[in-house]
């Protein structure tokens, strides 16, 4: 099959800048995936749309050098499996399994185990085919998941979760170990599946950004901005410059807050409680200043269709700027403490390493990807306003160990502090919010935003009278959870909390 230029054949698609779309046949679906993979594309998301009366389709978004490409495969017979993409993009596997659970569209790939369905509803009920349908309480129990068994002399299993020992989200980890050494980790997720995609179809299109903000609470700005970007794209709304700048300010504050939390927790997991005390104090300081400026500590309601909920007062902006500067200076000081602490350095260096080649093959993305030589950042590579103007310096490392993921966080805190400084100093005058009317029916918009964890996608399809027929939020944790299984191989069990924290992946954003 001669290579085709899929990009040249595609057409512009509403939503994020640099996004184009192409409808392909069954054969071309596989060919395109193969050729895109060979060309270095990254698979961002796969999902299915089966809301009647719209024709059923499977969709996938790929990130390529020229931009983001949406491929749609119409399904003549939704009961027939669609060609799987796992061979070219290993991260496709779990997304396709979720698609089978929720939309009833199976793939031809070999792993057909249920992923997001744990027997709480019958296997023949697919909540995204008839979203309004209700299912009677299924007699749960008998929820048996066939983990892959590792056999051999001295091998034993350690099951962990779903309720974890710390204050973290629920999930199950099955370790196969010899002594302390981990031979294999298999994750089982889906415990916090709460029907987010179905819930979207019950909300008004002008109100559902609130649900998007709660897909993963630590990425509220990223998801609500991606949702609004998709909506504004199909509603034909031009975002006022001030609104775009304020959104970026919120996004960078969210990034800094999460990085501060992680840097403290990582110190703590390495036995250095001083780090947790210091960084959690700085995070609290940042949240309180943000609270003064935006009226909430976590920006769950800051991003609204057409702009931002509140404007930023000059005095609050100046306070925010000086607080962020002070925090950045303290973080720089604390970095030398971490760097010079032998115990911390010993735990961080070499732990949970994901070499660049493996990261590339498995599609490791976002912050963790940048620590493993995957130099991709939507803010630089596919920028929307104001990142077209306020340029982001991409940071990265190549070693892919805990130390690298810590270093990327330290660098990104400083870079975000610089961006916040600029965003406040040159904040354009004008309106912070534009009014938005409900968009036409049968439109598809896609938003792409680089959250603190990595690139976030929201695909929005509209129905009549401000209804939503389908909304698919995608968190970068889908790509990175399977890589964690590789990162832990050959490490010791007690290092797992540290390695896991260094990725800090979302359960809620993944389980939906």
């Amino acid at each position: 099959m001669a290579p085709r230029n899929w990009w040249a054949e595609s057409l512009e698609q509403p939503g994020a800048p640099g996004l184009r779309a192409l409808t392909v046949s069954r054969e071309d679906w596989s060919h395109a995936a193969e050729q895109l993979a060979a060309g270095g594309a990254r698979l961002m998301a796969i999902w299915a749309t089966r809301t009647e009366p719209a024709p059923p389709a499977v969709r996938a978004v790929f990130l390529i050098d020229s931009g983001a490409l949406l491929l749609s495969l119409p399904l003549a017979d939704p009961a027939a499996p669609c060609p799987g993409l796992e061979a070219d993009f290993p991260c496709a596997s779990r997304m396709q399994r979720a698609m089978a659970d929720l939309s009833g569209v199976r793939s031809t790939d070999p792993d057909a185990r249920a992923w997001l369905r744990h027997n709480a509803w019958p296997p023949d009920f697919h909540p995204l085919i008839h979203p309004a349908a209700r299912v009677a309480d299924h007699e749960a129990g008998g929820d048996v998941y066939p983990f892959v068994r590792v056999e051999g002399e001295g091998v034993h299993e350690i099951p962990v979760g779903p309720v974890h020992a710390g204050i973290i989200e629920p999930g199950h980890f099955r370790f196969s170990v010899v002594g302390e050494k981990v031979l294999r980790l298999e994750e089982r997720l889906g415990y916090v599946h709460k029907g987010i995609e179905q819930r979207f179809t019950e909300l008004n299109v002008l109100d559902a950004h609130r649900l998007a903000a709660r897909v993963s609470g630590d990425s509220a700005v990223a998801f609500s901005w991606a949702y609004c970007q998709a909506l504004e794209g199909i509603a034909g709304v031009a975002l006022p410059p001030r609104a775009a700048w304020l959104r970026a300010l919120c996004l960078e504050l969210e990034r800094v807050a999460n990085h501060l939390g992680d840097l403290g927790a990582l110190g703590n997991d390495a036995g250095f409680a001083f780090g947790l005390a210091q960084f959690s104090r700085l995070k609290e300081l940042l949240l309180r200043t943000g609270d003064e400026a935006f009226g909430e500590r976590y920006l769950m309601n800051a991003i609204v269709p057409g702009g931002t909920r509140t404007d930023l007062e000059r005095a609050d902006a100046l306070q925010l700027r000086s607080t962020v500067q002070a925090i950045a200076a303290e973080v720089a000081r604390l970095r030398t403490v971490y760097d010079e602490h032998e115990g911390v350095r010993d735990r961080f260096t070499g732990a949970g390493a994901v070499p660049a080649e493996l990261a590339n093959k498995l599609g490791l993305t976002g912050l963790a990807g940048r620590a493993s030589g995957q130099a991709f950042d939507l803010r630089c590579d596919l920028p929307c306003a104001p990142y077209t103007e306020v340029e982001v310096a991409k940071v990265g490392r190549n070693t892919g160990d805990v130390a690298a993921r810590v270093a990327v966080r330290f660098d990104e805190v400083q870079e975000s502090a610089r961006l916040i400084e600029r965003l406040i100093a040159d904040l354009p005058a004008g309106s912070h919010c534009e009014s938005v009317s409900p968009p036409p029916a049968e439109m598809l918009g896609i938003g792409l935003i680089e959250g603190w964890r990595g690139p976030v996608l929201v695909a929005l399809e509209t129905g009549p009278a401000g209804s939503i027929t389908r909304c698919h939020p995608h968190d970068p944790s889908w790509q990175n959870w399977p890589v964690l299984e590789h990162a832990i191989i050959g490490n010791i069990v007690p290092d797992f909390p540290l390695i896991n924290k260094s990725f800090n992946l979302s359960y809620s954003g993944h389980d939906l």
Binding site: P162, P170, G195, R199, G217, F274, R281, E284
Partner: protein
Amino acid sequence: MLKTLRQIARVGIVTEPPPPADESLRLRAALQTRILAMLGRALCIREVDAGSCNGCELEIHALNNPLYNLEGLGVRFVASPRHADLLLVTGPVSKHMEVALRRTYEATPDPKLVVAVGDCGCTGGIFGESYASRGRVSNVIPVDVAVPGCPPRPIQILSGILTALERSTRSTGRAAP
């Protein structure tokens, strides 16, 4: 080491006084006297995320930062329900977490307290009840105190914990420094 000590000295003690208990958050009061007789003021908490978006967990984490200094009040988070006096539960309770939540509740020794945290824990929140969600925490296990908010501020969560812990007539008194 010198840098570490210098930083500790520079920052000093930043802990703030705790909020008063808030009786309006209390849903039931049956166990109070018995528990207090047994516990005095020391309390062990097991946190259970039964389906939240993780927003509430971030604010629960904040309770351990030096400004709220929960451990300074004699309250600490433990790793097992068998060591716990109080379950701090966020929701909505996903159907996939229902069994785990019930088992955690059963594994917690009597007498025990339950504090539901966040709008979702209190009412089901924006997620509500569905094919995948059981909604509010009290749909699954008995709840003593419910703290609304999306997410509630740490001070509100702390107030809820202290409400569960305190006799209604007793004020919270961390000795002033």
